[in-house]
């Protein structure tokens, strides 16, 4: 038999839904706004039915179309008139809307049965009205549970408290707008509400108002030079202080929350009327004194409840807390002081009722209650087919129109929500066709969820992930034929390409990036910072691509030394006619350079071409040797040809040194790019694979070491290095993969030196050096002989000191392999 599992807290102010699953309760969050609870408020505006937060905020604008606290009218004949629709509604109708909204929080497996909580004060008619609301919302089976019992179950289950013995608990429920207290008897797993007390108009909001009136207003009156500020703010006549009231209310709520964890808080306010900011302190002591009368009022009601039932304080085994206001530490302290019982606040008081209702639902099996709800049972409606949704996939506007067409004279409702929780159209009635402007989050993809309901508000069509991109693509522009990249230094002394814009991105484009200076450039040193922007393929060598923007910032242009590690901000803009604008800003030395590169003028720097050619010669020589060893003669031949071509190009460069007129340099640049493309084709793939293999080897070695000798710190660093592995291993960029391998080597090195024995090897590296390498030979000999003795005695502390002393005696210190190399461009 299947259990009901779903528990619903249908509250006067807030409601929520949970499900008992695998021994615990999962609270469903509102897919719009992602909160645990839903304000029990309904509003009608612009043809929409709004439920929850957005409905509540309309209270001050059009109170006649906003309905809240309708739970108090459950089971009565009272009828609400809705001017916006000219309809009359009952508390059951509104409760059903809240329940439908809650059911909507649940993903795919919608509940057909649920436990709904009711106040202890509800009589049979009110209870039956709650059941009717549940059936109207589409539930086939509704079980009721009193709220105090739900709270007790929540505490008992989450803390495994025995409910076999006979005892009495108080359920103290201090919410946002109401206060209720119930006396519950527990005996042999049976929970029963003996009696209850309450005040329907006492809650957290009163406390916010108290803070505002008594703590904020006296200070503000002095600042603003006015009297009776509180009265002026809350008067029916809207005046200059009405806006201030809302800001103060927000600050009061924030201060209240903060005072629950801190002894004092500073409140900061912007007084637009006095054009200044003011700051003042509120202590928890002041706050406690302020709220004391309200808490005292709840205590009086609680004492009265105990007295009329002849129950002494000592007989109350536990007071359990429910409702957001019980977060305030003073409430708990004062209750403990007055009743001397255990005051239990171990679970979230705002969701305790939902948790308890769900635990209860987890123990109740579903029934076939066809008789009870037969009168309102409907057949499962057919799902709509042939619904057409028309919209633009790409947009530059803040809103984009969605039109829906449903054939066969369909009448019903639609609702569109954005999956990030920031947009909700509300429920809107329509006939055959609807139009809705969807609000878009700028410069990103927006996903929407469209639902269509029949006239009984039963879901008949659903479409997920309707996607509209904002500002990412301009539909009228041309696509980029190649990647646009910036050449940057790596930490190994070479360079690679960082993609700024992707091939097929649509023009115009703009992007801001932040880089750092990779080598110190001293003012007047003759060094330069090079910004080289190329068009081509990001995964190839920089020199094989076409330079479209080249900017040299010379040391002589600098107002101060440019230090390694300084931040550089670079803005790139490519217009529809493919003009590239580069704006470089270095805040540290207040340097700003802006340059436009025209698409028709090629950018070639002779020194840079020379440098690239010279560097490539070394690489080619190395590759020729490698391929020769592996007997790959056909590649060796082609590399030899390439070598000759590069030497020719270097010669040609010398010939045109003073040639400022002809376009020979462009010819050389073209030949150079072709040569580098060929080089890439011949060796790059092989090198990338070799780099990946080396990376994987280090990774496996470290993994194994960590398994044998776990080290949380190193494991954390290791996981950070390999985090985006798929991305960098597929980048085809040897230098990116090599940088990662270097990071792995660094931690492998660190792990190696965690073993004392490793220092023996290191010592012998120093001992076998030429004695003439040391600045003082006799001292060095002495250290070596002491070192050998230390090894014999396994005195590793001494050995480490000796190695350090030898290092300092070395005339030329060994280079740190792991130190980042200075870049050639100056940009990293």
């Amino acid at each position: 038999m299947e259990n009901i599992n779903f528990g619903i807290d249908l509250g006067t102010t807030n409601s929520g839904i949970g499900k008992f699953q695998s021994g615990k309760v999962n609270i469903f969050k509102n897919p719009v706004g992602f909160r645990d609870t839903l304000p029990s408020v309904i509003a009608y505006r612009n043809g929409r039915i709004l439920v929850g937060d957005k409905a509540r905020e309309l209270t001050s604008v059009q109170p006649e179309n906003v309905f809240s606290s309708f739970k108090r009218k459950m089971g009565s004949e009272f009828s609400y008139h809705v001017p916006a629709t000219q309809e009359n509604k009952t508390a059951i109708d509104f409760s059903a809307l809240v329940l439908k909204e809650l059911i909507n929080f649940v993903g795919d497996e919608k509940p057909t049965s649920a436990v709904i909580t009711i106040p202890a004060s509800f009589d049979t008619i009110q209870s039956n009205a709650t059941k009717s609301a549940g059936y109207s919302a589409g539930l086939q089976e509704v079980l009721l549970l009193q709220e105090p019992i739900a709270a007790c179950l929540a505490y008992a289950n989450t803390q495994n408290i025995s409910i076999d013995e006979s005892k009495k608990w108080l359920v103290y429920d201090f919410g946002g707008g109401t206060f209720d207290v119930a006396l519950v008897s527990i005996n042999n797993r049976e929970l029963k509400v003996i009696d209850h007390e309450g005040n329907n108009f006492l809650g957290g909001l009163d406390i916010d108002n108290l803070i505002l009136e008594h703590l904020f207003c006296p200070i503000l009156e002095k600042e603003l030079g006015t009297d009776n500020l509180w009265k002026q703010m809350v008067s029916a006549e809207k005046g200059i202080y009405s806006k201030l009231f809302f800001e103060l209310l927000y600050r009061a709520e924030e201060a209240k929350k903060e005072l629950s964890i801190k002894e004092s808080v500073y409140v900061e306010l912007e007084l637009e009327l006095a054009s200044k900011f003011i700051e003042f302190e509120i202590t928890r002591q002041q706050f406690n004194e302020l709220i004391h009368p309200k808490v005292e009022e709840t205590v009086k009601l609680t004492k009265r409840l105990l007295e009329k039932n002849n129950v002494s304080n000592q007989q109350v085994e536990r007071i359990i807390l429910v409702g957001g206001t019980t977060y305030i530490p003073y409430v708990k302290e004062y209750l403990h002081q007055e009743f001397e019982s255990t005051v239990d606040s171990s679970i979230d008081p705002t969701t305790a009722i939902i948790v308890g209702a769900s635990y209860y639902a987890g123990t109740k099996t579903k029934q076939n209650l066809s008789t009870e709800k037969a009168e309102i049972k409907e057949e499962v409606p057919d799902q709509l087919r042939d619904v057409k949704l028309v919209y633009e996939v790409n947009s530059q506007d803040n809103e984009e129109l969605l039109t829906g067409f449903v054939p066969n004279e369909f009448s019903g409702y639609y609702r569109v929500t954005r999956t990030d929780g920031g947009f909700d159209s509300g429920l809107i009635s329509f006939h055959s066709k609807f139009n809705e402007f969807l609000k878009l989050v700028p410069k990103t993809s927006n996903f929407f969820h469209v639902k269509i309901f029949n006239k009984h508000q039963v879901l008949v069509f659903e479409q997920d992930n309707l996607s509209i991109n904002h500002g990412i693509y301009n539909i009228s522009g041309q696509p980029l034929p190649n990647d646009i990249c910036l050449e940057v230094d790596d930490t190994l002394g070479t360079t690679y390409l960082e993609r700024i814009f992707k091939k097929n991105d649509i023009l115009p484009l703009s992007k801001k990036i932040y880089k750092t200076v990779s080598k110190t450039i001293l003012k007047d040193s003759g060094a330069q910072l090079i910004i080289n922007i190329v068009e081509g393929k990001a995964e190839t060598s920089p020199a094989s691509n076409l330079c479209i923007g080249y900017l040299e910032i010379n040391a002589s242009d600098l107002s101060a030394n440019l230090l390694k590690g300084t931040d550089i901000e670079i803005d790139f803009e490519i217009s529809e006619s493919r003009d590239l604008t580069v704006n470089v800003f270095i805040d540290a030395i207040n340097l700003e350079i802006s340059q436009v590169f025209n698409a028709s003028a090629k950018q070639v720097s002779i020194p840079k071409v020379r440098l690239e050619l010279e560097k490539s010669l070394n690489n080619i020589d190395y590759e020729i040797e490698e391929f020769s060893i592996n007997n790959r003669h056909e590649i060796v031949d082609r590399l030899n040809d390439l070598r000759l071509e590069i030497i020719e190009l270097l010669k040609a460069l010398i010939d045109i040194e003073d040639d400022l007129v002809t376009d020979k340099i462009y010819n050389i640049d073209e030949r150079k790019r072709k040569a580098f493309q060929l080089y890439d084709d011949l060796v790059r793939r092989k090198n990338v694979i070799a780099e990946i293999e080396e990376y994987q080897a280090y990774k496996a070695e470290i993994k194994e070491d960590l398994l044998l000798k776990p080290n949380a710190k190193i494991e954390h660093v290791f996981n950070n290095i390999i985090k985006n592995e798929a991305q960098f291993l597929n980048s085809n960029q040897t230098s990116i993969i090599r940088s990662k391998t270097k990071e792995l080597q660094k931690i492998s090195h660190e792990m190696y030196y965690q073993h004392d024995e490793s220092y023996v090897n290191l010592f012998y590296q120093y001992a076998y050096k030429e004695i003439s390498d040391y600045s003082n030979e006799s001292v060095a000999r002495k250290h070596i002989s002491n070192g050998e003795r230390a090894i014999k005695n396994e005195n590793y502390i001494e050995l480490k000191a000796i190695i350090s002393a030898l290092y300092h005696l070395l005339k030329i210190k060994p280079k740190d392999y792991f130190e980042d190399k200075n870049g050639t461009l100056g940009l990293k």
Partner: protein
């Protein structure tokens, strides 16, 4: 993190308009770095009030309910990108007139 972002937002709003130019780049940089970490911060100031916009929590002053606009933002809207999905993690708290 959302509390830190709200503090940054408050600092930004406390700077006088005439002094703001010298801080502009710093704030751009902060928001850029936040975006790299997956946080998108939206300031809805001056936007028309829209009852469908669930990313703001509005306190509405103008009882006529006509041509309502957001005139003050006490907290910005914050979205977080997680595994390719964007979710709202903080609603803006705004005053509408």
């Amino acid at each position: 993190m959302k509390d830190i972002i709200t503090q940054i937002f408050e600092i930004e709003n406390k700077i006088k308009t005439e002094d703001f130019a010298s801080f502009k780049r710093n704030f751009q940089r902060i928001y850029h770095e936040l975006e790299q970490e997956g946080y998108i911060v939206v300031n809805p100031l001056h936007q028309p009030y829209d009852e469908r916009d669930a990313s703001v929590e509005a306190n509405i002053l103008n009882e006529s309910g006509q041509s309502l606009k957001i005139t003050k933002v006490l907290k910005p809207t914050i979205y977080k990108n997680e595994n390719g999905n964007r979710i709202l993690i903080q609603k803006a708290v705004v005053i509408v007139e």
